[in-house]
Subunit: 475 residues, 2 copies
């Protein structure tokens, strides 16, 4: 069987549970799928290559985790070869929560309390400046950044989401794209009575897109911006189609206290009484969930998206991620929007998550490197309901992968690739990115997107946005 | 007056207190010094450039912070031009605390409690595997990483420090290099009775190096590893020469509690009674300093080096940096060693510091972006006693600077350059680095160091280190 691509000579991480790194490995891709994973040479072969080969892992048994006897088939013949000598191949990164088009507001207003930030900058700019076309171009910019940083799947939640979907499809990213719903006027929905109609139409029109790459669903902003009926109707639309449903939950202490005062309920119990908690619900943030809510989420099979950079920048708080993981809750990492982050870089989220929970728990063994990499890949795919389709390098799954250049000072020497991915690597180390067998990035260059065109458009219009904000402040 | 280099068309941040970003700016360098800073064109000129020019800042008065009337002289004639269109020029970054040669141990042992990490891995490897030559090569690797990430000054503290100094001088970095002192056997000092003799000789031999670039001084490891006499004698050697003196202070809660139990003293009071606190003392970490120690440090003019990535990874704790700043204490950022970080990346330290203290204080206005950039540059130079010499772009100061590529997805659009530096930029965005008028990095390529030679050496010997550690564990 001839395959389309053979990526060889790489250190391969399959991210299959319990798998060991494969030095001198290969990944074969046929059509959109992984056709095979294996090893080219024995470990002796690696030793003979001397100084040009990357080192091997000390993880696990305290010895290089491979041997000549490993049961790998020989590499298949291939139409195209990619020599990944000195590089690492692994599944692409999964961003379980983003508002891609908010890259427009990157650095527009920082270091402010949440309410002035929202009320004085973000909401007015969304209401008075953003339009469908700008959402489209912003999402293209976000896609460029995400692809360059090794992201292959993104769960995007915003308004004008059909424009986001069009841009993400053009970029070639795998996406779970969710139309935003709130019970007040929103971008593209001046009358909130239309919010569910717009969302339902968005879900229906998903049929126009490749169903293997693009999932179209709904994001309800939060329990404090969506009434019970809105939440229930939105959930019903997605539940009957087996779609994930997103909601910001317990991001700030204030919203949790207000719910307690008004209804005497915790956020989890509030949603549970409305019948909204199940295995298709993705709770985003979950910073201020009390212990009883954590157990409730675990019982109901709810998934959680953890966005530490945004949570810290807004001083929202630190989500109880180790506790959720201990309860068996499936957790993925997310960037949130670039207005509160200010990038869409999952390498940064890994680095921060692994460090933050150590100091928060006063325990340096919390969130070890390999587990953190799993959150950014395999577990993220699980959160989005895509675990059967992609994000381990397993024959038969879709080929979503990245190739990362290890030949760099900050990644030298190499003892444990998981450690480097979490504690030293950066988005800029990603050289090639493939989604479903299609290259989106080669040698650091975007394949599906025209960067000069996107950058020119964004820079030109960002002047208009700056003028809009100056006018706001002079009112 | 003809200058040697004119870096032009850049967005210039001088980092002088109160200065505004200069769009379409230039920096002139003559010999080792800044010869001039100014603006090439009026803001109208920038507008005409349309989509290729970076945006302008909303900071300050809500308008672009420059005007045709700014009192800049025209750019001088120059022997060499660097067109920095679409880039930012700013002072180089200052790393106020590193153990450069510990890059050997990058990722060798992670996610462990402090004591097993030290006792089972780091101390045995330092005692049984490290030697003078390996310290030299490790420091070259560290220098390569630091230069590529925009660091122009590093305060390095380790053993075999004369080898570190040789490597850092070869790299062309500005450095405050400090021989380590402990009251037990250390690398290169099998008999601790020689520790001060070695340190004094190291300081004396500093005369062999360019005094404008290289300061040779002493680092006492900690109050719990150095007795009172050792501390006092080491301080006396450095004080009489007007040199900064470094000490790890209050890194872990355990060491502070032990000091309290044994002597009934706080760390600050302990050092103060020994006469060790003055404007030349640099206290590293300071995580567990009680409020009375913070005031004591402020009164004595002690400087503080803040290493947040290391503090989090080891779960040491969070240093009271906003409190120290409020008291007027001069604070710089540091990476600590790559064994506990695991990189030497000040962009990462800025990003983490600005976020961490927001969530720790539950206040998103803490450590705003511009202040955080100042900590990594101007304030760091102040911590090291170099503020008169470098690290603002001020005519007459040494030209230590970096040029950062803004033409990237994650830095688009641009409203506030300080925001981007802290919340979105990465070490890999640095394209050119100059120290004292000499280029160390051009177009991302190292000028003073031979990367293939360094990488080959480190990779080959890291196999030997891995074998050494496997043998340790099988004992």
């Amino acid at each position: 069987m001839e395959v389309d691509w053979l990526i060889h000579n790489a250190l391969v991480l399959t991210l299959e549970p319990g798998s060991a790194p494969i030095p001198q490995g290969y990944v074969a891709v046929k059509g959109r799928q992984i056709a095979g994973v294996g090893q080219l040479a024995s470990q002796e072969g690696v030793e003979e290559r001397g100084t040009t080969a990357p080192g091997c892992s000390l993880a696990g048994e305290g010895a290089c985790p491979t041997s000549p006897g490993l049961p790998f088939p020989p590499p298949p013949p291939a139409r195209h070869l990619l020599d990944a000598q000195g590089a690492l191949v692994m599944p692409g990164l999964v961003n379980t929560h983003a508002h891609a088009a908010m890259v427009w507001f990157r650095g527009l207003a920082d270091d402010l309390p949440l309410q002035p930030w929202l009320q004085d900058f973000i909401f007015p700019a969304e209401a008075g400046w953003l339009d469908a076309n700008r959402v489209y171009w912003g999402t293209l910019l976000a896609a460029a950044e995400m692809i360059k940083g090794g992201t292959t799947t993104v769960a995007d939640s915003y308004f004008y989401e059909s424009e986001c979907r069009r841009a993400l499809a053009q970029a070639g990213l795998r996406t779970v794209t969710a139309q935003g719903v709130v019970d007040f006027p929103a971008p593209g929905i001046p009358d909130p009575r239309d919010n569910l109609k717009v969302a339902a139409a968005f879900v229906e029109s998903g049929a126009d897109f490749d169903p293997d790459l693009i999932t179209s669903t709904i994001f309800c902003h939060a329990p404090y911006t969506c009434g019970p009926e809105t939440l229930q109707q939105a959930k019903a639309i997605t539940r009957r189609r087996g779609l994930p449903w997103f909601i910001h939950l317990a991001e700030t202490r204030q919203e949790v206290e207000e719910l307690q005062q008004q209804q005497g309920l915790t956020p989890g119990v509030h949603l549970d009484r409305l019948g909204l908690l199940d295995e298709l619900t993705v709770a985003v943030h979950g910073v201020w969930l009390p212990p009883e809510d954590l157990e409730l989420l675990a019982r109901r099979g709810v998934k959680v998206s953890h966005c530490p950079e945004s949570n810290l920048k807004l001083a929202a708080g630190v989500a109880p991620i180790p506790e959720l993981l201990a309860l068996g809750v499936r957790v993925g990492l997310g960037t949130d929007g670039a207005a509160s982050n200010n990038d869409l870089d999952l390498m940064g989220e890994m680095s921060l998550a692994a460090r933050l929970h150590k100091v928060w728990q006063r325990d340096p063994t919390v969130l070890p490197a390999a587990q953190t990499v799993a959150l950014a890949t395999r577990e993220g795919a699980g959160v989005l309901g895509l675990a059967d389709k992609t994000v381990t390098l397993t024959p038969g799954k879709d080929a979503d992968l990245l190739v990362l250049d290890l030949n760099q000072a900050h990644l030298t020497p190499l003892f444990d690739p998981y450690s480097h991915l979490v504690y030293a690597a950066r988005a800029a180390d990603v050289r090639h990115v493939m989604v479903a067998g299609r290259w989106l990035l080669r040698d650091g260059e975007l394949i599906t997107l025209n960067w000069p065109e996107i950058a020119g458009r964004i820079r030109l219009e960002s002047r208009d946005l700056a003028a809009f904000c100056r006018n706001l402040r002079s009112l």
